[in-house]
Assembly symmetry: C2
Homo-oligomer: 550 residues x 2
Amino acid sequence: MSKSALQIARASYVPKMPQVLRGNVQPKEGAATESVSDQEEIKKLFPNTYGMPIITFEESQREMGLENPVNVGVILSGGQAPGGHNVIAGIFDGIKRLNPDSRLYGFILGPAGLVNHEYKELTADIIDEYRNTGGFDIIGSGRTKLEEKEQFDKGLEILKKLNIGALVIIGGDDSNTNACVLAEYYKSINAGVQVIGCPKTIDGDLKNDQIETSFGFDTACKVYSEMIGNIQRDCNSARKYWHFIKLMGRSASHIALECALQTQPNICIVSEEVEAKQQSLDDVVNDIATIVAKRAEKGLNFGTVLIPEGLIEFIPAMKALIAELNDFLAHNQAEFDMVRRSGKRDYIISKLSPKNSEIYASLPETVARQLTLDRDPHGNVQVSLIETEKLLAEMVKTRLDEWKKEGKYKGKFATITHFFGYEGRCATPSNYDADYCYSLGYTASMLIAAGKTGYMSSVRNTTAPASEWIAGGIPITMMMNMERRHGAMKPVIQKALVKLDGNPFRYFASNREKWAIETSYLYPGPIQYFGPTEVCDQPSKTLQLEQKSK
Amino acid sequence: MSKSALQIARASYVPKMPQVLRGNVQPKEGAATESVSDQEEIKKLFPNTYGMPIITFEESQREMGLENPVNVGVILSGGQAPGGHNVIAGIFDGIKRLNPDSRLYGFILGPAGLVNHEYKELTADIIDEYRNTGGFDIIGSGRTKLEEKEQFDKGLEILKKLNIGALVIIGGDDSNTNACVLAEYYKSINAGVQVIGCPKTIDGDLKNDQIETSFGFDTACKVYSEMIGNIQRDCNSARKYWHFIKLMGRSASHIALECALQTQPNICIVSEEVEAKQQSLDDVVNDIATIVAKRAEKGLNFGTVLIPEGLIEFIPAMKALIAELNDFLAHNQAEFDMVRRSGKRDYIISKLSPKNSEIYASLPETVARQLTLDRDPHGNVQVSLIETEKLLAEMVKTRLDEWKKEGKYKGKFATITHFFGYEGRCATPSNYDADYCYSLGYTASMLIAAGKTGYMSSVRNTTAPASEWIAGGIPITMMMNMERRHGAMKPVIQKALVKLDGNPFRYFASNREKWAIETSYLYPGPIQYFGPTEVCDQPSKTLQLEQKSK
């Protein structure tokens, strides 16, 4: 394949990794662990993988090569994140070092590849083509969930056929939960297959006391911040637009918050705060309009608003409206379909409970339509299709028009909207992600050599220089609790939301009033790979602030 | 102001410039010049600035410092483009070298600043804050057109008051045309103020035999290409979406073409070709759908389509429809307003001529609405508001659905749309733009020292290393021809459209079939400032291909 100049130059980058992994290592085992809560239930569900110790790799005097080669399978699960290829390269280099005859097999297009026996061997030639590149295209990814015994058994057939002794699943919280269930199952039947997880997701919501960050978050946020910075510079030059910028991340607002820390926008909405304060959509609109009006008083009729993709689902009143809409339409779809187009809105308004009816009536037409027409196969509103950035821009405009009539606002308000998501999921990984991912993969191979299963590969202390990073493994059961999913209680890895008492949010909260009224924009610019270390090797601001408190 | 790590590191970059400018220079004058056409009329309109020679700066033995300081004014005109701050830094360093007591004044928020006497002195402290940064925020920009004698006279008052002997206008084709008119006027009245233009626009449509490129095009296209490459990598990993990506640039398709050369998408529409082939919107839709269907046959239900912002205005049939709509609504607005919302579309269909009525009826509802509702203050359709990327995605889907029923297409077709514009206009300039802009500004100061007016600053041979670049000046009248504007013939700089017989388009055309069916994506990645020269210092592919033919 033909390549860009950067692709060619970047191919020869040698990822930095923990110093200890450059020599021979041995696992040091800590004390027995407990799950974060619901210990009894989790222990019952994972009798073979519960309570295992945290592993840290230490220098060893013994040559750690394996007598027999180890064949490993790898799966990319869920949405793309920068650095996935380096995890795979790290596994490859690790198992080849353990024994040069080891082989690595990639399952094609996600977990479905395991179940359907679609795979390819990842040889040195292939690996070298993908070192330090973005994307998951080396084997593709997919969203099939590995949850059923039939899938596990079907997978085991091909694992046995290829003589694969260990499987590495690279995914988010759900995929790692499933990796643990699989590990437990294979151990329970003595299948002879270890399962290791790797923490991936640009959303940054897979982290906890043991896992500092999920890979891809750093790069994706830096790409979005580059764009936001560019827009802010434009905004500050043209001085005539408010830019409403939605950022990917439905379950948590880490991306929006990190981008705010990097770019110092006028406004950043944090869904977790909106939920905690029980704000309505109207409250959010008021908050934004108030800042717009304050800036207008200073002659600053421009600004930026960052909006997390999942906002709507965090607003209690919107959640209630959507729930009633889903329920109502499930029972009245036929009648609704009969209503002529121009009457659908009034029809819905007449049918909902007074409170929800009022909220629905207050929504701009396009959003009202999206809420009733764009439905998923289960009949539910597709919240991800709602153009929240346009919704807010329109509602703020309406509010400001009212205030203008009341003489409370004088200014001009013109908006431009953006949504950034796909622009960052497959970016060339930053040095941080390239190093972190390679180390995660390499560590996974060491966990395999140590005979571990049900562990997540862990690389810690990553705000220090890479040589001081700490490699090891965390028992996945340790991160679990019981949660209601689809009506039943399930053991799952706790999703990390933005902590309102955490350092990153507190730093943001203590600065946002200044950022709102003054113009304090930062322009991070594009990710750099070759320059000074303070430009090229900084972890995310979120991580730096989180680690500061430790 | 607080700064990002890259801002701090980049501040100390020393732009490369033509070797000759490092020493003492003298202007070498070529033969008398002619305008590109309409020589008689242009000559009559510019008696004082017509026919001047092309200037090239050569090494001189004489010390070129000026005995008296020269005060210079600078104006940023029109849309932002990366590198504007470096043009200003170049002017500043140039005039300070000529005489350390020289002063530079910036007029605030574009040409209006000159007319309204809003300015600030740009001192060394200020200049240093803005070296190698994106944006026009040092003094802001604006779109006021300098066209009237009253404006010129008003401007002269402040120029005289500040003892400004030369004005540099940084802008696109229109602004440079106006710069030339101003130069002619000031010369005709012996005002003692020289006027020099600088070629700016990310659109890349200000270039000709003398001006190789306008600044900002390189950086903006590289930013867009970074995003497109990231999306393509995602597309190739997820393998389930067609991404329709609209790119800024209404008057010409240089940006889309350059991005295509950098990223090798499956489809790139070039408006100039659509116009030359007299294609209808339906033809464009068919062309795209055909490629989608061909890829689907190979199991490739994903891809990328680049769309120039100005497409609609290049389609003869759409132009005719819009013209009739504008005319019809100008005469029947009141009646149209009376029609109830749901009936507006049918009303329009019933009123237009058969051909336009048919085209109008074929448009998706949202676009049909935009064409009748979103109108500018002059009552004209706001073509720039039409979401062409969504329009095409929707129409291609409809076409494929038809083909599916006819059994001509089997596949899945899901789309995601993007629009990139504001993301690139104020990016930190690439090394190319940083160097080119600084050199343009420095050269402008040398043209001032040489007593020239009505010239555009020119830096040529820019595909060679910067030390070999050629600095000089081109008489603006040389680029002019007569064109009909707002009903009257005016002397204007010819706008450069994509040449269908030029090397860049021919290279694209000879590869596009392969790019369409195979997946030949390139991933350019983010602009690099510190790495190997083949990564950091390459001019645009367009320029490289254009220069190859010379």
